[in-house]
Amino acid sequence: MTSQFESSTLTLDALPQGSTAVVEGLEGASAIEQRLRDLGLVPGTVVRVLRRAPLGDPTEYELRGYRLCLRRSEAARVRVRNKADPA
């Protein structure tokens, strides 16, 4: 399994449709990251990739009991690991 080594650089935008991941953290402390945290993207939160828009962007995610759309530029700020991997 190589995913354990890659997991440190895996970000939300890179996840394939249908996959599930756990948020590890967000880079930076700007207002954008603060907002993403307020939307529930904090370490430990489970995120599922529901689907991409017909034109490839944005993507619909499911987390904390609701559905959220993010563009790649914002999703790339969220570090995640695959759900099966240990913390």
Partner: protein
């Protein structure tokens, strides 16, 4: 002295069911306005709960009290008591969707820290049950330390208990320990609370899942999107027409009645053309506004509008806007007035402003009579490409010129006027829900009333001023002059006629003479007015064939050349693509941006664009044609 009225602030995220709850508590007595200095909608309503008069304040939807948008800034400041001129609420009613508590508790945690008496209302508990979720409300109450009530807002379930609770906030329990501040710790706190109170977490929303499989499917979803957008366009463009004709007929009927009642003369003219004409140009928008908003609110409440934005976001993102701008710009293709009002669904104030500023560039239906006159008179009805005629191609070109210019200007404004990172794009896709008729009616009526009160008064005022310009000073034609000639004489000697002459040097480089100048001034009221004004100037007996023949035949007495050369016609068409010749649009801009600066800016930049583009067009066509 009587006890001061208790103010209750409803706080919750968008889609939390806050507005339904607000309507249920206050009935139809809501007062709608703006918060001082900003365009954020302010909604308050009086209610009597447990025998006590209270004011319920429906705060704008917010995901967090660390503000990102203008809406959220108002919420954060108001709750902190820092919003000048608006009192801090005495107690807070936090509103959260029972099915997405995992997310909502992050906001509730911030609200609990404010130190105001607080209670939590969980909406849509019926949906929680339908999704086999089980929540222990007494345990949640104990965990949070504040009263918790479950309701189904639109069915009135739980509202009696809520009213009884709202009447005595001084008795509400306060949390013994406040939730943590940092977002990671807040989330951990929310998770621990929920682990304690959920007997069963709500399952997936199967209905929403099933609908989304179609609505958001790459092919089916795109088709649905296209269908809905065509429907939008059709609605404003064509289906509003019968009602608009009916209103027009009503105004004409009133004019006939006035003619029967009053003697001919200046008073009658003023009442018929100035006042009644002004009233008519206000209410003629009502069918479009009511239809458009019925559809917008219906789709928004259903949950489709967010999906449509999801589908088209990438395209709008390429010019710096977002998916929600699309619906508004499309509506502006029929009429910028409802289009600008529709920008309220755009959360980012910058995106909203840019959308408002470019919406007059979308070719609205008021330009059609102008295009029809000029194209009909000067473009030969030749077939060029199979069934496509030259006239149709010119019309299509004008539509495209407007649409493409809007996109270019939007990209430029976004980069030039508002550089730097804006709001991050994030959008919730709420579960599909069927709105109640009552909610829909309240929303539509609110928009229609706002238009009538805020924009209507300005439109009426300006149309009266324009009437005065077109009628004073009044010169009586010698007896025996044919009525058409008399009308022309009166117009030429009026203030507007003089202004037309005065601006002739300025518009001559565009190929316009003083007569077109008067038409342009008159068309400030509404673009199509230039047609009836030209009919007056040319003393034409009708606005169709006779006017077309008259402008074709017009010859400048000084030079002996025709006035409407190909270059002048092209230049005038291009002028109408760009210029903001519409008082109603300016009035609605003034209302929606809450300032005179932005309508002035829009008018200025579009006039500059119109002048520049017309000048270039005139030069190019003159060079090509001779």
């Amino acid at each position: 002295m009587s006890e001061a009225v208790l103010r209750l602030g409803l706080v919750g995220s968008p889609n939390s069911g806050k507005t339904t709850l607000f309507n249920a508590l206050t009935g139809l007595r809501a007062k709608v306005g703006n918060y001082p200095g900003v365009t954020v909608e302010r909604r308050e309503g009086a209610a009597t709960v447990a025998g006590r008069r209270v004011v319920v304040v429906d705060l704008p939807g917010a995901y967090s009290l660390t503000p990102m948008s203008q809406d959220e800034e108002v919420v954060a400041k108001l709750l902190a008591g820092e919003l000048a001129g608006v009192p801090r609420p005495d107690a807070i009613v936090a509103v959260a969707d029972a099915c997405s508590l995992e997310r909502s508790l992050l906001l509730v945690a911030q609200v609990l820290r404010l130190g105001l008496p607080c209670c939590l209302v969980l909406t849509m508990i019926d949906e929680l049950g339908a999704r086999r979720g089980k929540l222990d409300l007494p345990r949640l109450e104990a965990a949070l330390g504040v009263p918790v009530i479950g309701v189904v807002g639109h069915r009135g379930v739980g509202l009696d208990a809520l009213r009884a609770l709202l009447g005595r906030p001084e008795d509400w329990s306060r949390p013994p320990i406040l939730p943590p501040v940092a977002s990671e710790e807040r989330a951990a706190w929310a998770d621990s609370v929920l682990a304690h109170v959920f007997h069963a977490r709500p399952g997936r929303n199967r209905v929403t899942d099933a609908i989304d499989r179609v609505i958001l499917h790459p092919i089916a979803g795109t088709l649905v999107f296209a269908t809905v957008m065509v429907l939008f366009f059709q609605l404003i463009f064509a289906w509003a027409q019968p009602a608009m004709n009916l209103l027009d007929a009503g105004v004409a009927g009133a004019a006939t009645a006035l003619h029967a009642w009053l003697p001919a003369g200046i008073v009658l003219d003023f009442l018929v053309d100035g006042v009644l004409g002004g009233v008519g140009s206000v209410i003629v928008f009502l069918p479009q506004i009511v239809l458009l908003f019925t559809l917008i609110y219906l789709l928004d409440d259903l949950g489709y509008l967010a999906r449509a934005a999801f589908v088209i976001d990438r395209l709008m993102g390429s010019i710096g806007l977002e998916g929600r701008s699309f619906v508004s710009l499309l509506s502006s293709y029929a009429c910028a007035v409802p289009g600008i009002m529709a920008t309220r669904t755009i959360p980012s104030p910058r995106d909203r402003l840019v959308t408002i500023l470019v919406s007059p560039l979308m070719t609205c239906s008021a330009r059609l009579p102008v295009y029809a006159l000029l194209i009909g008179a000067f473009v030969p009805a030749r077939r060029v490409l199979g069934p496509l005629g030259l006239q149709g191609l010119v019309l299509l070109g004008l539509y495209l010129l407007g649409g493409i210019s809007a996109l270019v200007v939007a990209a430029v404004l976004k980069k030039g006027l508002f550089p730097g990172p804006g709001l991050p794009f994030y959008m919730e896709l709420p579960p599909y829900r069927v709105p109640t008729l009552r909610l829909l009616a309240t929303q539509v009526w609110g928009s229609a009333r706002a238009f009538l009160r805020r924009a209507g008064t300005i439109i009426l005022g300006v149309s009266i001023v324009l009437w005065v310009l077109l009628h004073f000073p009044h010169v009586d034609a010698p007896a025996g002059t044919p009525p058409e000639q008399a009308a022309r004489l009166a117009l030429e000697s009026s203030l507007a006629g003089r202004v037309g002459h005065a601006i002739e040097p300025a518009i001559a480089p565009l190929g316009f003479d003083w007569k077109i100048g008067v038409g342009l001034i008159a068309s400030l009221a509404a673009r199509e007015v230039i047609v009836s004004t030209l009919a007056q100037i040319y003393a034409a007996s009708d606005e169709g064939t006779s006017l077309r023949a008259a402008i074709r035949a017009d010859v400048d007495p000084a030079t002996g050349r025709t006035v409407f050369t190909p270059a002048t016609v092209a230049s005038l068409l291009v002028f109408f693509v760009f210029a903001l010749q519409c008082t109603s649009t300016l009035a609605v801009m003034r209302r929606e941006t809450n300032s005179y600066r932005w309508p002035a800016f829009a008018f200025g930049y579009l006039l500059a664009l119109a002048y520049g583009a017309s000048y270039v067009t005139h030069q190019v066509v003159t060079a090509l044609w001779t």
